[in-house]
């Protein structure tokens, strides 16, 4: 039994289903990556795990509890952190205020968590009083991840964290994500840069048209000739 798992999920936004019997799971301290061609339902699968769209079949289990009926807000309270692909920071708020808002549901003292986020992303400490909208793309992503970490989640979900950033920044972000995973958090992410993402993944899911096509360790998927040919450009 995995720490977080979406089992046999079938559902979509409207009448037509996008996901078909799709299963995704991740363990504590591990990185699971969802890859696949455009329109494969990668983001949809992650949103289903987070409760942003309804699945009529299947269930989502977090730490042994069925959370299928919870709203996204309640899932945050249950220990899930979510970083959307776009509009994932409060642009008119300062970096520090962004982190404070991330900790909004916490009633205890969160200064220690903030210090840890600053340790993870030292640049944010430097720019703590700057508006998040003034930061570069990579720094914004760091704010977004930092904001989600403020609730001290047990699972962190990232929707294409490296979309639109330069290759150097991408490497940096992946390093950050590995650091986060090392603290014992389960990480589930959707990635467009499949090769690099699978490189750091403990587990990879290749989705095609809303269905599980390949599921294996990142290493094995990278070595799989069929996966290489179809999804990684040879």
């Amino acid at each position: 039994m995995s720490f977080l798992s979406g089992e046999n999920m079938t559902g979509g936004y409207g009448a037509a289903d996008i996901l078909h019997d799709c299963t995704i799971a991740v363990e504590k301290g591990e990185i699971a990556v969802i890859v696949g061609p455009n329109g494969a339902g990668k983001s949809t699968a992650m949103k289903a795990v987070f409760g942003m769209l309804s699945i009529h079949t299947g269930r989502v289990v977090l730490d042994g509890t069925d959370i299928s009926g919870l709203s996204p807000q309640d899932r945050v309270k249950a220990g899930m952190g979510f970083v959307p692909q776009t509009n994932n920071v409060f642009t008119s708020l300062t970096v520090q205020e962004n982190l404070e808002m991330g900790a909004y549901i916490r009633t205890d003292d969160f200064s220690e968590t903030m210090e840890r986020v600053f340790e993870l992303f030292p640049i944010l400490k430097e720019k703590r009083n700057q508006q998040a909208g003034e930061l570069s793309g990579g720094q914004r992503q760091q704010v977004a991840v930092g904001r989600a970490l403020m609730t001290q989640p047990k699972v962190l979900m990232l929707d294409e964290p490296t979309a639109g950033v330069s290759p150097i920044v991408m490497d940096e972000l992946f390093d950050n994500i590995i650091e986060v995973a090392k603290t014992g958090i389960a990480i589930l992410m959707v990635e467009q840069n499949a090769r690099q993402a699978l490189n750091i993944a403990d587990k990879g899911y290749v989705l095609v048209q809303g269905r599980n096509r390949f599921t294996d360790t990142g290493e094995a998927l990278l070595a799989n000739p069929e996966v290489r040919k179809s999804f990684l450009g040879g």
């Binding site: 996204p72 807000q73 945050v76 309270k77 979510f82 959307p84 509009n87 994932n88 920071v89 409060f90 642009t91 008119s92 708020l93 205020e97 404070e100 808002m101 991330g102 909004y104 549901i105 904001r147 609730t151």
Partner: protein, 337 residues
């Protein structure tokens, strides 16, 4: 030299002082509009009549106090009644939200639906105010009227022109400064204020962070009610209270909010003064002012008034149109309507 001084005193007396007070009143009104726009994402057409409602309650309580002989002389009794006016308006706006806007939020109605329903709310509120206090002019200012009287000023300085500063004008500016500081402190420093800014900035992410929209909306209405009542009461003390005038204030208030950049509180304040000063300088008759400054043979025969005061709303309207054409985000980069 005395001519130049006299011209300046004249200008201060008829333009600078009244426009500053008027600007502060508009700024407080525009702050309410801009906050509601930032959080609830619609232009609240009922704001002028909300001001009228709050002022009406304040006036009724003022009269009651006056009849009991309660007074805070030399300050106007209305200041004492103001908290009651604010409370009643808070109740009114929360009830309106419950009865009208909450439904549209639930069905995720388009912004224009909110705007139109606020027009409905405006008519209802307008009717309530006229029904209770009547459509006529009401005067409720008491206490000392002047800080500096024109005659005393002339006697003290020996100038031909006098400067008048009314208590209501000084009060307006003083209270506006306090209210603005308090509001900005609240928005910048408190957890609730920050959550309101976060909600205004990015609603989805705010929901994801566990910020409760209903709470944010409620606090917004409470602040809007307080701002509207304070602005309305100060305007009424400075001029007089007439329900129709308050309805008409909607135009300069919206012009102020949009000039400054709607959704941006700092912009609302700047916009209030821009609109007030434009209105007053354009409708002021400069004949006497120029007579002090120009040589005798160049003295103007006409009033040298760019626009009759009857058309003062045209000024707001022109500003509004110009801003929307040239810089729709306003001075301080607010949102585009």
């Amino acid at each position: 030299m005395t001519d130049i001084l006299n011209a300046l005193i004249l200008f201060a007396n008829f333009v600078l002082v009244p426009a500053t007070a008027y600007g502060a009143q508009l700024a407080l009104g525009a702050l309410g509009v801009t906050l509601v726009f930032g959080i609830l994402r619609f232009s609240n057409f009922a704001h002028g009549d909300t001001m009228a409602f709050g002022t009406m309650v304040t006036i009724l309580v003022t009269w009651w106090f006056q009849s009991m002989g309660v007074s805070i002389h030399p300050l106007p009794t209305a200041l004492l009644a103001l908290p009651f006016g604010i409370l009643a308006t808070v109740g009114m706006l929360l009830a309106t939200d419950r009865l009208v806007y909450r439904f549209y939020r639930k069905v995720k109605a388009a912004p224009i639906v909110f705007v139109m329903s606020s027009v409905g709310v405006m008519f209802v509120m307008n009717g309530i105010v006229r029904f209770i206090i009547g459509p006529d002019d009401q005067r409720f200012a008491d206490g000392e009227r002047f800080i500096i009287k024109a005659r005393d000023f002339k006697a003290a300085t020996g100038m031909a022109e006098g400067l008048t500063i009314k208590v209501s004008q000084a009060l307006t500016l003083g209270i506006a400064v306090i209210v603005v500081i308090a509001l900005f402190w609240f928005l910048q420093r408190t957890r609730t204020g920050k959550s309101m800014r976060a909600f205004s900035d990015n609603e989805d992410l705010a929901l994801l962070s566990g910020i409760s929209p209903e709470r944010v909306v409620m606090i917004t209405w409470i602040i809007a009610a307080a701002l509207a009542t304070i602005a309305g009461t100060l305007y009424g003390l400075d001029k007089s209270f007439k329900p129709f005038t308050y309805f008409q204030l909607l135009l300069p208030i919206f012009a102020a909010a949009i000039v400054g950049g709607i959704g941006n509180p700092l912009g609302a304040i700047a916009g209030g003064f821009v609109v007030a000063f434009s209105e007053v300088t354009i409708t002021y008759a400069y004949k006497k002012f120029l007579r002090y400054l120009l040589p005798e043979n160049l003295e103007p025969d006409s009033l040298v008034q760019l626009l009759s005061t009857d058309y003062k709303f045209a000024v707001s309207f022109v500003i509004l149109v110009m801003v929307l054409l040239i810089r729709p985000t306003g001075i301080f980069k607010g949102k585009v309507l």
